[in-house]
């Protein structure tokens, strides 16, 4: 019973990781690549770590696995947010079929705005 559960969970996690990597390879745009990465990878890693806890069935392993899942779930959205904001500021193009660009009139991302003088940005 435990063996079957470990097999199912590890296969599910591996398939999620494979979907994430295929999306990273095939998506047309930086932002869509980023969204695929964060969602699918955390789910896949979570499934594989739960399989490890079921396999070992020890207190220390369970604690470590919960800590890893906690770190990943807390840190990967923050990292994704930071890198996407930096990518927008440094002028990464959106996909040509993208409908909406909410940061276009945002004062925080004025580094790409040519109307703003350069020394005003440097002063901050």
């Amino acid at each position: 019973m435990n063996d079957l559960l470990i097999k199912i969970l590890s296969t599910l996690g591996a398939v999620f990781v494979l979907i994430a990597s295929f999306g990273v390879f095939k998506m047309p745009d930086f932002y869509s690549r980023l969204s695929v990465t964060i969602k699918a990878a955390t789910l896949g890693i979570g499934c594989i770590l739960i399989a490890a806890t079921i396999h070992f069935a020890e207190f220390s392993v369970t604690t470590k696995a919960i800590a890893i899942i906690f770190f990943l779930f807390i840190t990967s959205p923050v990292a994704g947010f930071l890198i996407s904001k930096v990518a927008y500021i440094t002028g990464t193009k959106l996909w040509k079929d993208s409908i909406i660009d909410e940061l276009k009139n945002d004062p925080d991302s004025n580094c790409t705005n040519p109307a703003l003088p350069k020394d005003k940005i440097k002063k901050e």
């Binding site: 990781v17 990597s21 295929f22 990273v24 890893i68 990943l72 890198i83 930096v86």
Partner: protein, 91 residues
């Protein structure tokens, strides 16, 4: 078929295929940010790889390295984004 054999012969090749696709994006990536995201995903898949390896060799000690890698992935992404932003601002 035992769990170790199943993971070694069926689950591990799927993970290796995933690492292959991510490496292709890492080599190809048109900009620096693409490469940063690919590196982040590569380290995250490395955590899964280490966990599966610790199941195969039946030794839970390797989970410590997985925990450190999970922290380093976040740290490297934040550092890269900080320096890319700094380079853009100083231009």
């Amino acid at each position: 078929m035992t769990v170790e054999d199943y993971i070694a012969y069926i689950v591990m090749p799927i993970i290796c295929l995933a690492i292959f696709f991510i490496m292709l994006r890492f080599i190809k990536g048109p900009q620096v940010v693409d490469r940063v995201v690919a590196l982040d995903l590569l380290i995250t898949v490395g955590v899964a790889f280490i966990t599966l390896f610790s199941i195969i060799v039946n030794n839970p000690l390797f989970l410590d390295e997985a925990m450190i890698l999970a922290l380093i992935a976040f740290l490297s992404t934040v550092a890269f984004s900080f320096y890319i932003f700094k380079r853009k601002r100083d231009e």
